[in-house]
C-alpha cells in the first residue's frame, strides 16, 4: 500500500517515524512532501535558534534518516492539487503522484491581521527558520522591537528579541497575557515578573495601524496612543493551511480547518488530516502532543489492527517563558457553579497558583501555575486520573516547609497504571513499569529507548526517574548510591578502601573491588580520589583522567586546547605579562582575562602544548590547574598596601594561600578569595572559601558558590589570626575532600551535610570527631608532594610524546580550523569542519 504524506513538519515526520517503528516498506510504501527546503524541524524549540542552537540541532532527523528508513522525502516542492477520485496529487513542478491513502499534515500559517502597513519592511511573522534568519539579520541594525500578540508564541518571539539585546515591547489585545491559559490574576503576576526582567508589556491595546514610510517606525492604537519601534513581529494566532483541501473539494470548517471524524478521516475516507490543520469537533489543536496522538490513531486505522479513536485532547501545558515557569492544566479557567478555586499568591516572588476543585472537595478539575510549576506533573495526573484529593487540598500548592512538596514523592506510587506519564509519546505508567521489569532496565536512557518516553520535550524525565527508582525498589533490587555499575561502593567508601589497602592505581582498585572495564564516571572519580590521597603525578595514569586532565589543558570547541598559567592572587609583573604576550603571539593564541584574575590562552593544538609550556616554565610560570577538579585561584582585591580603605594585606595573604593549596585535587573545583576590608571587592562570599579582613584579623567564610545556583558563603569563624585561619582551612578542605560525593561543590555538600553549618563548626573548630590533627597531617603530606605537572610532562620524553594528534605522523589535526573575530581568532562552529 502506498501512503503519501503532504507536509513535512513535526507531525508529518512523527507519522513516518511511528509507522516505520512497526511496519517495513514492503507493508507500507511512504512518500512525504515538504514545501520548505529543509526536512522537518522542531518548531517548539525554534527560539533556541537564537540562543546558539544551529539549524541542524533543530532537525527532527537528518535527510539521511529518511533514506535509511526507506521513506521518499521530497522537499522544496509544493503540492497544488489533489484528485480524490483518481487518487492522485500534483505538485507545482507538474509532477503527478498516486496514493492509496493520503495524509494531510499541512499545519498552519501565522495569522497576519489586515492592518494598514502590514506589508512594510521590518514586519515579520514568527514561524519558520527563514523568518528567524530574517529577524536576526534585520535585528542587527535596530534598537527596539515590538511583538503583536501576548500568547505563548508571542512571548517566545519576545524572548528571541530580548536575546538579541533589543528593547522589546509586547502588545496584547486582551486585558492580560496568555488569555487562553491564564486568569486575570495569573496574567498580572506573569506580567510583573516579565517586566522585572526587562520586557515592556502593553495589554488592552488594539493596534490600528503600522506606521512608517517604507519600513516600520511605530504603531498606532485605537486609544490614540503611539509606540515607536524599528521592527515588528506578528504573532496573532494561527490559521490552518487548508487551501489545498478547500480547492480539492475536501470539506473544511466555516472558520478554517479540514473537518475530520474520530478516525481523522475527511469526507473522503482515504484522505486523513492530522495536526494543526485538522478540525475535530470544532477544535483546532495548536500543540504538538495531540498531533502525535492523531498520527497514532491514523496508523491504527490504516493498519486495521485496532479501532482507535481520537476523542479530543487535554490542552494542559507547561513551559518556561523567558525563565519563568508557566503551566495550565485541565479546566484552568473554570469558574462555574460546580467548582471552587484555591489560590496562592506571592507577588514578591512572582508566584501564583490556582487549583479548581469540585464543590464537594473530592476532585481536582484544573488549574494555573505561574512562577513555580514544580507540582505540575502531579497535579495533572490527579486531574486526568480523577484521583481523590487529600483532606486539605490547599497543601497541593502551598510551599510546605519541607524541601520537597508533600505530593511529589509519595506521588508516583499513588498513580494508577493507566496514568499517562509522557504525553508527547503517549506512554503510561503501566507501560514504563512493565518495560523496566520485563527488560531489566536500569537507567533513563534504556527506558527512553524501550518506550520512547522522555524523547519529546523531556518534561516527564523526573517522574520517569521516580518510577524507575520505585520499581527497582519494589523488585527488591538495591537502590544504592553506588558510583556506577563497576563499583558498588560510594565515593566515601572507596576513599577508605584506597587508604586502608594502600591502593595506588585504578587498575588495582578495579581488580580488587570492582568489575568490568570501568567507564567515564568511575575513572575520573577514582583518579580524583587517588590524587587527593597520594598526590602522585596524574600523568602516570593518564587514561583514567578526563580529557582535560589527560592533556593538562582545557579542551575547547573544535578540539583545540586552552592554557592557563598560574598567576597567584592575580599579581603579575610587566615582564611576566610580556612573556605571556610573546607566547600568545608566537603560537597565534586568542587571549582573554578569566574570572579568576588570570590569563587564558586559547586555540593551541595538542602538539603545541609542550612547546608553549616550555617557554612559560622557562620564564618561571607554573601550571594553573585550570583543567583539573582542583584548586583554581585565590582572587584578591588590592588591599591595605595601596587601598585607602584596606585594613589588611589581602594580596599577600591570597598569594600565601594560593601557593599553599595549588594543585590540590578535590571532588570538584575549588575557588577562594581574600578581601582587604568589609567592602569585599574580591567577592570572597561567592567562593568555596573566602577570607575577609577585619580590624582585628580575618573572618573565614565557607561553602559559597557562583555558577548555576549561586549561594553565599557562611561565616564559619570571625576575627582569627593567619595561623588559625590556615589550620581551619586545612581541616575544612580535607574534610570536604574526604566526605563529598564526586562532582559536588562545597555549597551542595554543606546543603546535604546532616547538621549543616553547626555540625561543620563542631568538626572543624571544636574537633568533636577528634580528627583535626589527622586532617592537618593529611593536608601537610599533600602539600609536600606538590609538583608542577607541566614541568614533569615536558621533562619526561615518554609523557611528552603523547601530545600529538596522530600516532603515525607529526601533522596536526587538519580539521582544527579557525576564523577571525574582533582582531583575534575563534574556532569554527560545531559541525562546520565536515
Amino acid at each position: 500500500m502506498k501512503i503519501v504524506i503532504i507536509g513535512n513538519g513535526m507531525v508529518g515526520y512523527k507519522f513516518c517515524e511511528k509507522i516505520r517503528k512497526k511496519y517495513t516498506s514492503n507493508q507500507f510504501q511512504l512518500t512525504i512532501y515538504g514545501e520548505e527546503h529543509r526536512p522537518a524541524y522542531d518548531r517548539v524549540h525554534l527560539s533556541e535558534y537564537f540562543s546558539g542552537k544551529d539549524v541542524d540541532d533543530l532537525l527532527m532527523a537528518p535527510a539521511q534518516w529518511y533514506a535509511t528508513q526507506d521513506i521518499q522525502l521530497i522537499t522544496g516542492e509544493l503540492v497544488i492539487a489533489i484528485d480524490p477520485i483518481l487518487k492522485t496529487i500534483k505538485t507545482h513542478k507538474g509532477t503527478i503522484d498516486t496514493y492509496d491513502k493520503l495524509i494531510l499534515a499541512t499545519g498552519s500559517s501565522p495569522f497576519m491581521p489586515a492592518l494598514n502597513g502590514i506589508d512594510k519592511d521590518g514586519v515579520f511573522a514568527y514561524r519558520t527558520i527563514e523568518d528567524l534568519q530574517q529577524i536576526e539579520r534585520y535585528g542587527k541594525h535596530v534598537n527596539n522591537a515590538a511583538v503583536i500578540g501576548g500568547g505563548l508564541l508571542g512571548l517566545e518571539a519576545a524572548k528571541a528579541l530580548m536575546d538579541m539585546d533589543l528593547e522589546t515591547h509586547v502588545i496584547e489585545f486582551a486585558d492580560r497575557l496568555m488569555p487562553r491559559q491564564l486568569d486575570a490574576k495569573g496574567g498580572e503576576v506573569l506580567r510583573l515578573k516579565l517586566e522585572s526582567l526587562g520586557l515592556h508589556i502593553h495589554t488592552s491595546k488594539s493596534t490600528k495601524e503600522i506606521l512608517g514610510k517604507d519600513k516600520v517606525t511605530g504603531l498606532s492604537f485605537a486609544d490614540e496612543s503611539l509606540l515607536a519601534c524599528d521592527m515588528l513581529v506578528v504573532s496573532a494566532g494561527i490559521r490552518p493551511r487548508d487551501e489545498l483541501a478547500r480547492a480539492s473539494g475536501i470539506a473544511v470548517g466555516n472558520r478554517g480547518g479540514i473537518i475530520v471524524n474520530d478516525q481523522l478521516q475527511t469526507n473522503y475516507s482515504d484522505i486523513y488530516a492530522i495536526g494543526e490543520v485538522a478540525l475535530h469537533k470544532e477544535m483546532i489543536y495548536g500543540l504538538i502532543a495531540p498531533g502525535y496522538e492523531m498520527a497514532e490513531v491514523v496508523i491504527a486505522d490504516i493498519a486495521g489492527i485496532s479501532k482507535r479513536s481520537f476523542t479530543g485532547f487535554d490542552m494542559s501545558t507547561k513551559l518556561k517563558l523567558i525563565g519563568v515557569d508557566v503551566a495550565s492544566f485541565g479546566d484552568s479557567l473554570d469558574a462555574t457553579e460546580e467548582c471552587a478555586a484555591i489560590v496562592y499568591e506571592n507577588t514578591a516572588k512572582g508566584i501564583y497558583k490556582r487549583i479548581n476543585i469540585t464543590r464537594d472537595g473530592r476532585y481536582l478539575k484544573g488549574g494555573i501555575l505561574v512562577g513555580d510549576a514544580e507540582a505540575y506533573n502531579m497535579l495533572l495526573q490527579i486531574t486526568q486520573n480523577h484521583m481523590d484529593l487529600p483532606e486539605n487540598p490547599a497543601e497541593l500548592i502551598l510551599g510546605t516547609r519541607d524541601a520537597k512538596p508533600a505530593t511529589s514523592r509519595q506521588g508516583v506510587e499513588a498513580l494508577p497504571n493507566t496514568a499517562q506519564i509522557c504525553s508527547c509519546e503517549g506512554v503510561t505508567k503501566g507501560e514504563i513499569c512493565q518495560a523496566i521489569v520485563d527488560h531489566g532496565l536500569t537507567d533513563i536512557a534504556m527506558i527512553k529507548k524501550a518506550t520512547n518516553a522522555c524523547s519529546g520535550c523531556g518534561g516527564c524525565t523526573p517522574m520517569v526517574a521516580d518510577l524507575l527508582k520505585q520499581t527497582l525498589k519494589a523488585q527488591g533490587k538495591e537502590v544504592k548510591q553506588s558510583l556506577c555499575e563497576h563499583f558498588s561502593y560510594t565515593r566515601q567508601e572507596l576513599f577508605d578502601l584506597i587508604r586502608v589497602h594502600q591502593i595506588q592505581t585504578y587498575n588495582e582498585l578495579l581488580g580488587r573491588f570492582g568489575n568490568g572495564d570501568g567507564c567515564e564516571i568511575c575513572k575520573p572519580a577514582i583518579a580524583s580520589l587517588l590524587a587527593s590521597i597520594w598526590n602522585e603525578v596524574i600523568l602516570k595514569q593518564s587514561t583514567i583522567q578526563d580529557t582535560n586532565d589527560r592533556f593538562l589543558a582545557n579542551i575547547q570547541k573544535g578540539g583545540s586546547y586552552s592554557v592557563v598559567p598560574r598567576i597567584p592572587a592575580g599579581e603579575i609583573t610587566p615582564n611576566q605579562l610580556m612573556v605571556i604576550a610573546e607566547v600568545a603571539k608566537k603560537f597565534k593564541l586568542y587571549t582573554k582575562i578569566t574570572g579568576g584574575q588570570r590569563i587564558d590562552l586559547f586555540g593551541a593544538q595538542l602538539h603545541e602544548l609542550p612547546l608553549i609550556w616550555e617557554e612559560l616554565i622557562a620564564a618561571g610560570f607554573e601550571s594553573g590547574h585550570a583543567y583539573g577538579k582542583s584548586l583554581r585561584t585565590i582572587k584578591s582585591c588590592v588591599g591595605s598596601t595601596w587601598c585607602r580603605f584596606g585594613v589588611q594585606d589581602s594580596v599577600g595573604f591570597a598569594i600565601e594561600i594560593e601557593n599553599r593549596y595549588k594543585g590540590l585535587r578535590a571532588p570538584h573545583k575549588l575557588k577562594g578569595a581574600v578581601s582587604g576590608c568589609i567592602r569585599e571587592c574580591a567577592e570572597a562570599q561567592s567562593k568555596d572559601f573566602g577570607i575577609i579582613a577585619t580590624e582585628k584579623g580575618w573572618n573565614l567564610y565557607v561553602c559559597g558558590n557562583g555558577g548555576a545556583h549561586p549561594q553565599h558563603a557562611q561565616l564559619l569563624v570571625a576575627d582569627i589570626d593567619k595561623k588559625h585561619c590556615i589550620t581551619y582551612l586545612d581541616r575544612f578542605l580535607m574534610y570536604y575532600i574526604k566526605t563529598a560525593e564526586p562532582l559536588t561543590r562545597t555549597a551542595t555538600w554543606l546543603n546535604k551535610l546532616d547538621g549543616g553549618l553547626d555540625y561543620l563548626y563542631d568538626v572543624i573548630i571544636n574537633d568533636v570527631l577528634g580528627i583535626g590533627e589527622q586532617l592537618e597531617a593529611d593536608m601537610e603530606r599533600l602539600i609536600a608532594n606538590y609538583h608542577c605537572e607541566w614541568k614533569h610532562a615536558i621533562e619526561d620524553p615518554d609523557f611528552r610524546k603523547r601530545f600529538k594528534h596522530f600516532a603515525n605522523c607529526d601533522e596536526g589535526d587538519p580539521y582544527v580550523k579557525f576564523e577571525s573575530l574582533r582582531g583575534q581568532k575563534k574556532p569554527v562552529e560545531w559541525g562546520a569542519i565536515i
Binding site: 572495564d517 567515564e520 575513572k523 587514561t543 569542519i833
Partner: protein, 131 residues
C-alpha cells in the same frame, strides 16, 4: 603503508578486508587509544589491556562532528566495550557502533588484529568512504 608478510598471512580468508598495520602495541597507552591517519581517514584504535582486546572506530564524534574519539575514555557497559566522547560524554558501543545514551547517531567500527606485537586495522571500501 607498506604491505608486510604478516599482512599476506592475515589476508588469507579475509579477501574483502584490507589489513593496515598502524603501529606496535608498545606505542599504545594501557587501556587507552590513539588516532591514526590513513589517507583522509582518521581512525581511533583502542587497547583494552585488561581484556586483552583491541577495538577501532571512526575518530569523528557524530554528535557535534568533532575529530576526537581517540582521546575518549574507554570502558564497558554490561560487558560491552565502549568509548565516551570527551566533549559531551556521548558513549558508543565499540562492537556495534550504536550510541548508548539513546541518541540516534552511531559510529563506524573496524576490526582490529594484533599479530606478533603489531596492530592491524581492517578496512572495507564502505568504511573508507566515511572520511
Amino acid at each position: 603503508m607498506e604491505r608486510t608478510n604478516y599482512e599476506h598471512d592475515l589476508l588469507v580468508g579475509e579477501q574483502e578486508m584490507d589489513w593496515l598495520k598502524v603501529g606496535n602495541k608498545t606505542d599504545f597507552p594501557d587501556n587507552g587509544g590513539l588516532c591514526f591517519k590513513h589517507e583522509n581517514l582518521q581512525i581511533a584504535v583502542f587497547n583494552f589491556t585488561n581484556r586483552n582486546e583491541w577495538y577501532a572506530c571512526q575518530n569523528l564524534c557524530p554528535h557535534k562532528m568533532q575529530m576526537i574519539l581517540s582521546r575518549g575514555m574507554i570502558g564497558s557497559r554490561n560487558g560491552e566495550p565502549k568509548v565516551a566522547c570527551p566533549f559531551h560524554k556521548k558513549a558508543f558501543s565499540l562492537k556495534t557502533g550504536e550510541c548508548l545514551n539513546g541518541d540516534d547517531c552511531s559510529i563506524v567500527t573496524f576490526p582490529v588484529k594484533e599479530l606478533g606485537g603489531d596492530v592491524y586495522v581492517g578496512l572495507r571500501q564502505r568504511a573508507i568512504a566515511i572520511s
